[in-house]
Symmetry: C2
């Protein structure tokens, strides 16, 4: 198959509108009849009316006696009257039917005297007194639910009470999802170099379920035209919507566009969005058909933009409007003109404002979707946003959860995960949202009011002291508390067995030893530079000094995968990956907390967790930590 | 069994706290291992860590050539160099693995010349240039998800990419739900007088599913001690939480409390809430056990207050905080001291404020739960709220849906249901929320700014004209538009075959003819009084003049059920219930719309629906309507 290289650059809204215009009239919702008890969360496909009234009989609204109102005419305090039990008065409890011929109820409390054979009344009673009339709750023929209503538990109750056992609901749109590509493997496979796990199918199928559809995942189809053709035709025969996920390498979506052209109509190949540009829109056998790029973030985003409206359309619904909030953006976002870019952000409420921190923008970074609290759109004709600008953010998590989250920006340490988990274990919604940018950047975030606290471990080379002098330098005049989280052991992380026999810093300068560094501004980088200087070494002598990773674990992985021979990092990271290590020194890892956040309930909760034995025991179990000052303020 | 009559009156929060204190330590979450692909929306039962890095091999980030960086040392524009294809340079696509020994990628665009056997470069390349390192997305050992996290589609993707196929999730708490009572019938049954349909079991089971539990509905158990005992013991043996729904008549919950006392421990019988007071809290065989009142609203409310926290607790979660908003209350709410009362309200945004309108407060009124948009709490030591007071409302529907809803307060007409359904059919979230309070009360709602429009049909006896004079009288100086919705036929609604042979108004004054009236302020009541006056009749001559219903359908049901011989109402209501009718006259039913709401998009949409042929055809199909002026402004 030849590659078709030129992609179009239409706005995605136009692409969607074009597709709706061509197909929406032909692809319409179907209905099915369903037992009301199985219809939770289904969408009504017609107005639902009551089949009987409720109550369906006149019932007593009180405990008392059913009587005939006309038997009480003329009764007064001066002329009380006895009504004969069993004939003129019948005892009823709340909910009991009013006996034939009776038309009112006297409450127990309104009976002057209760005799063996009668009750004595001293006031007349009007007809229908204390009677729940037929249809008080539901009237036969009344509209119970409108069309396009998502059935809730209480709706099921009303339908059953009204004698409706079967309800017309929208059939779930059937969505066929086909992963393609020679390098794509099912999650069970043992992966070889070059293999890619098919995680997209599961993500898209789950999204389809959330949107009310029913997804079927097709077997992974290799890049062979005849196999793709066969699979697409089979899928078109049984599904309402077709989704073809391309492999992840470039140009792969061309197969899809050619296939759509061959068996149906190609409307558009390529829209002006980032990520997700090479999306394919068309129809095969009259079914809306989507070619979705293989990069996880692109697949997720294009599914939201194009697939969701169609799954909704086939249920007669329009796409829900997304909850948004206005947030201050924590760093400049640059975006190229011509594409609408979708940037994943973390969101937190710090003080009285919401702050949005952009996450990694790579289309392959699955974790950016896991970590994201919201999505920021940079319009096509805009080059981005300035730091500090207020921008609308579409939320991916409920606002109540974000309200309860503490934002931590700073250095990475594994105990922060343990801490967040301990807070979550208490059943709260929040926990800690942490961004790993290094100690110095953490302090700057506090200055800008973007975080509730920062994890820092900054050695002052002048004094040999940790942290305090940096706060004084970068946050002068601010009342910031320092609390110890842990002491931790910094080590040289080396492969199992230490094949290069690294023992001291001097060994790192030997020819051929490949080092992996941490980013500038991280405490570990400061420490490394300090050690080099003390030893009289220069960075030029260290091969790989310019290769930077952002976390201890990433450094350990570089060593584990053989792309580096040694890195400086914390002992627990080496232990997590089963690597060997050489002791370098102990350092103090503190939390810097601006005084104004100390009063927040979630901050108090965090501090109580840090001071608990259960948390400290879990920290010790990681290895390489000392908790002698954990939870202590300086 | 003896009745135990004295209920306690503890605050519900104390009751719940007591139960948690006694049982929470013994009843703890269980975990199970689950295929990640089946784990959507499940709750993690432990921290989830990556089992492998992703990418798990160094991959090219660009289309180009993989090379060894050191082969490019010293290259410059003045000293370009050829790298031999297949040996020093290997063509790679995005995503391809970096071949063994290579450590960097040159982009296609950076190759100066592409020859048969080599590529010409004019600049040196640094190691790891355009290489996605191992673990760029996910690092082995890294925390992917915290404990107590609800798994989303994107989380499933990250887990699969990280080699996690099985995930530890919380087992769904098993909740046994047992309906009891001699008068309770399954929904399939043909109902006799006195029978009550069991709708509560389905409502509670669906709520449990929404809260993450797994519900099993037990057979309906009659009020026989030995049968109840057997059922409770069986339920305790297999379930984590027991719910016993009492019949609806008073005192029935005593069976439950005695049973709990016999087989376990009764903590509390009766809490200070309204509705729902006689709730039973206890444990049987160490399982949290709830006795829930049989009235539908009481059952729903007590489930939210007591059952939800327990279903969440057994998953390690705390109850989500409810979304609330501040709304102006549209009429005085009176509540007795000593009980915390929960009032269902409709909520709408009219102009720039939210308005909450209280719904029926009967514990048996299922439809109040269907219609409710929110719940208002009147604290124990408060006697209610004043009209116009701003109160917090807990929302039962998403705020985005409420934003798009038009609030209609006024007279009831069946075409309003058709109208709302046509608007919903267009796929919008909103539609019309209508409260049926009669024409005059509708006009007063407009005056108070509580509605976007009112449906009115008020005859001016002086002029024989409709509506306009009432607006002038009650909304002087306000710019309110009148648009015709329909002309409709008012009739005397009589039983099939017209057994009392009613032909004219005069027949209603005959002895023994039982009339059913509409409430004061309704257009139909105004019409009836006008007709009486014209005929020279007095209300004392009409038997049943004081019996009032709030809708046309309710009047028709009173006739259909035999509790009245005749009522005045619209023809379509008679037709809906298959009744006969006698023509009385045609009347004009208009919508009164304050000018300031004409600009709202949802109002424009409504008007366009009213003016559409599709809507008018559906109205004509109801019978008794004329659409000659439908959509016309006066």
């Amino acid at each position: 198959m030849e590659r078709q290289i030129y992609l179009e650059n239409t706005a995605w809204q136009e692409g969607l509108a074009l597709m709706m215009e061509k197909l929406a009239g032909r692809c319409v919702p179907r209905n099915e009849s369903l037992d009301v008890r199985l219809a939770l969360h289904r969408i009504t496909g017609a107005i639902v009316r009551a089949k009987r009234s409720s109550p369906h009989f006149a019932a007593s609204a009180m405990d008392g006696y059913a009587i005939r109102a006309k038997d009480t005419h003329g009764i007064s305090e001066r002329e009380p009257r006895w009504l004969e039990l069993g004939i003129q008065a019948v005892q009823v409890d709340t909910g009991d039917p009013i006996p034939e011929g009776m038309d009112a109820v006297v409450m127990l409390e309104d009976v002057l005297e209760l005799g063996e054979v009668g009750i004595l009344l001293q006031a007349p009673v009007v007809p229908y007194n204390h009677v729940r009339p037929v249809g008080e709750d539901i009237v036969e023929g009344e509209v119970l639910l409108p069309i396009h209503h998502r059935i809730r538990p209480q709706d099921q109750g009303a339908l059953l009470a009204a004698g409706v056992l079967e309800v017309e609901v929208r059939s779930k749109p059937r969505v066929g999802i086909m992963p393609t590509g020679d390098e794509i493997r099912s999650p069970e496979s043992t992966l070889q170099v070059g293999d890619i796990v098919d995680s997209n199918s599961t993500v898209l199928a789950s999204l389809v379920e959330e949107w009310g559809g029913s997804a079927t995942i097709w077997p992974i189809t290799p890049d062979q035209p005849e196999k793709l053709e066969e699979a697409i035709q089979k899928m078109a025969a049984s599904q309402d919507i077709l989704v073809i996920i391309a492999g992840s390498s470039q140009g792969r979506d061309d197969y899809t566009s050619q296939m759509v052209q061959k068996f149906g109509t190609l409307y558009l190949h390529g829209v002006a969005i980032k990520p997700g540009k090479p999306v394919v829109l068309g129809e095969v056998q009259g079914k809306p058909t989507f070619g979705v790029p293989g990069y996880p973030v692109s697949a997720y985003l294009t599914a939201h933009l194009f697939l969701e409206p169609w799954v909704k359309h086939l249920q007669g619904l329009s796409k829900d409007s997304q909850a948004t909030l206005d947030a201050v953006i924590s760093k400049k976002v640059f975006s190229s003109l011509g594409s609408e870019e979708f940037v994943r952000v973390k969101v937190g409420r710090v003080g009285d404002r919401w702050v949005a921190a952009p996450l990694s923008r790579g289309a392959g970074v699955t974790m950016s979707l896991v970590r994201a609290d919201g999505m920021l759109r940079v319009p096509r004709l805009q080059e981005g946003f300035h730091e500090g600008e207020t921008v609308p953010v579409e939320l991916l998590r409920p606002i109540s959860e974000l309200e309860e989250t503490l934002v931590c920006i700073g250095s990475h340490d594994l105990t922060l995960d343990v801490l967040s988990s301990h807070m979550k274990a208490k059943g709260g919604q929040g926990g800690i949202a942490s961004a790993h940018v290094g100690s110095l950047a953490g302090i700057l975030s506090l200055r800008k009011g973007e975080a509730h606290f920062a994890g820092i471990h900054l050695l002052d080379p002048e004094t040999g002291e940790y942290n305090r002098s940096y706060l004084q330098r970068f946050l002068p005049g601010r009342d910031v508390l320092l609390m110890n989280l842990v002491y931790r052991t910094q080590v040289f992380i080396v492969p199992k067995g230490n094949p290069m026999n690294i023992k001291t810093l001097a060994d790192l300068a030997k020819p051929g030893i490949r080092f992996i560094n941490r980013q500038g501004g991280s405490g570990t980088r400061v420490l490394f530079d300090y050690l080099l200087q003390k030893q009289g070494l220069t960075k030029e002598q260290i091969l790989g000094y310019e290769r930077e990773e952002f976390t201890h674990l990433a450094v350990a992985v570089a060593v584990a995968s053989g792309s580096a021979d040694v890195g400086l990092g914390i002992q627990s990271a080496a232990e997590a990956l089963g690597l060997d290590y050489v002791f370098v020194g102990e350092e103090r890892y503190d939390l810097a907390i601006p005084q104004e956040f100390m009063r927040e309930p979630r901050m108090k909760e965090m501090i109580s967790v840090i001071q608990s034995k259960a948390f400290q025991d879990d920290v010790l179990a990681l290895g390489g930590y000392d908790v002698r000052d954990t939870g202590v303020f300086y």
